[in-house]
Symmetry: D2
Subunit: 233 residues, 4 copies
């Protein structure tokens, strides 16, 4: 018995007839740009695609913002295969968010990345939204952790101008996210067993430069955290 | 009263003394590579950073896999500012996942992107995991939608070898995700009101090439969908 | 060093001075009603509290609606200790919802309940909402699985009057939820290993009576499901 | 065209032939107990079912634990129709958990309940799990908020014996949950506009008695919270 195939795949065919023609043009452009990139990449590094198709072994897990201006592999000057990536609105690490947690587990437990970089950026729309009180929708719920930081650090934020306030909350969010990551049971175990490290970064849109946001900590903080968060066999 | 600042930021300082020296080296390398990229980018396109720091207006929302080998901006031959991005394990669109839903809402309702590309890729680790029955952890829960597709299309998948089976499930997952996106109330409204389109893509790791996976549909399917999923005013 | 205690507990004290007096009256009433119940219960069954304080061993996991009119223990004529309970809007079983999944795991894997009852009810507000297209908020996202059922069964639902349509979708939702439960890896294993069973029920608000909604299935369906969903050590 | 109906409903028929006979007996018992309850209830209060089938207007939202020993309507000495209920493992209020948030939104915005009671209980299995470090599964992720409280209040908990430690964490969890509820945008608005109040309770399994856990607060705390969490039109 043959059932009619409900979808079809095309390496060469034109896109679906049900999509409007401007969309078709757009897909054609996208496919053509990708083809140019693939051809150029192959010509300059003929071993890359064969090597990547054998498997990935990235050393870095990057957790960053969805923002179009912060494509991690590009701004790090790196290549396909180098960075395992989870990107969400305002690079939030929520301890019960299965989406991010699965990415972290896969990267840390199975790919055994060596570093986690949590990266925020200046002029973050999510941060701006969390500093305003306008109703946006589902995003408002997603951004609650930023509002909690806003309330916790109200005194620090109060005197600042809008731009400085935004930058400060971006940094507070990264510092908080680093702590959330260090509390994660998979991360905690990898820190213990094989020296995984977690780092905070901020990308400055004006300069194209990254800078570090590190939470200083004494050894005993790690021990205290381990006591509360470790789960094992 | 001054409280000691629990975190510190450094554009020029060395990374935290509490991170091991190999980690410090790694951060130094990362920062230095980024600096080279920023300098080169500025020299070849001096208007890019000033322009991007004024705001983002990407035309594309990309929903892709965390896999290190599929950095969207790179493989599309595009630049910072061009693609708004959510990446999760196996590019799954779960209709009640607040993480992805917030990215979609922000891109569709507020940035008003014109196209959504949902992109899978060959040799996807998440798909391989969903085709096996080994317990991995939180990921198993995240991958349940892939297992549902596996069961639903068991007859189609049955005869195939491992590689073909994997490729087929990658395509089924993209086709299913496109349907999930089209059912999303924010997407539905933007399709109606301003011609937003949603497309499925697969990236072939061996060739570096994208190909389309489109769900053909008649107008009446959209109408039926609209009836069930539209929520308004 | 003593830090002032930020909260206080009172078995006998009046409620917080910061709550309005009508709220205080309400709490007083609630506490007094509970005290009467406790006293009466103790007088009729002096062994109940000592026995329950030693531990719980319920045989039933109940997944039901938040609706105030369907308090499971009451309508089943049962006592404290008999039914382990998760209640959410419209008794939806979403395969990636950590809240419900944790309740299921705890009940099935650790308490080893013998039966799962998934119970819907007539005149369900969530179902009514999913059959309308009015924007309500976060609930709209939560109810997407009901909208998917609405679309899938559009033909069946079409001819019916509002009340019949609601009742049909309540039943479809229960049948679908039973399938989602049977696909759950923890449930699947307990079905295999110790004969756990999963049942669908609907509570009729007009009669106060439960009726069953069972998905008939041959053994091979279970096998097919097991193939796709089993994960193990 | 008639498609065979994949599910069937039975008010009088025996349960599905595919369920084992002990399960059939169990369902029969459940249905029979419910029938007795319904008949008794009707005989003592003939207006209850007709009145409830016209709609619900509970004044209370109860957020409690799944634990079988804490059936809210029973221990409050209340009737069907009195309490709208969400129950999850360890009565945790996670600010980005769509399941609980939808219940809260429905109760607060649409049913306009007057009081929210968040209720923990002594000897809570979830709390015990969070005080141990044994790996349990998905529950470990769900319980992360309890581990955060455990770490934050490590000094307070340290000296205590197991039972006292558990009771203290139960109370800390309730106090924290009350704060999470008060930060919720729907709750915040209802507090402002119509005097909704939020209260913490603990149920003592040994006595069957509830006691209050209230977070004292001055008016300015509410104002500060409002500033950070309010979202509106």
């Amino acid at each position: 018995m043959t059932t009619p195939n409900p979808y079809r795949t095309t390496e060469s065919q034109p896109p679906s007839a049900t999509t409007p023609s401007t969309a078709q043009d757009h897909i054609a452009t996208i496919l053509s740009q990708n083809a140019s990139w693939a051809q150029y990449t192959y010509s300059t590094d003929p071993t890359l695609f064969p090597s990547l198709s054998a498997g990935q072994s990235p050393k870095i897990l990057w957790i960053g913002c969805c923002d179009s201006r912060v494509p991690e592999t590009t701004i790090l000057g790196l290549k396909p295969g180098d960075v395992f990536v989870h990107r969400n609105i305002a690079n939030i690490v929520s301890p019960t968010d299965l989406n991010a947690l699965s990415a972290i587990e896969y990267a840390v437990v199975y790919l055994k990345v060596e570093r986690i970089y949590l990266c925020g950026h200046t002029s973050c729309g999510g941060v701006v939204a969390a500093l305003a009180n306008k109703k946006l929708g589902k995003i408002d719920t997603w951004l609650v952790p930023l509002r909690q930081l806003r309330m916790k650090h109200a005194a620090e934020l109060e005197g600042l101008g809008d731009a400085e306030k935004g930058k400060k909350l971006v940094e507070l969010n990264v510092a908080h996210g680093v702590e959330m990551l260090r509390q994660n049971a998979d991360v905690l175990q990898a820190v213990e067993e094989r020296g995984l490290t977690v780092h905070g970064l901020v990308y400055n849109l004006q300069s194209g430069r990254l800078y570090t946001v590190d939470v200083d900590e004494e050894r005993h903080v790690h021990e205290k955290r381990k006591e509360a968060f470790e789960v094992s066999g």
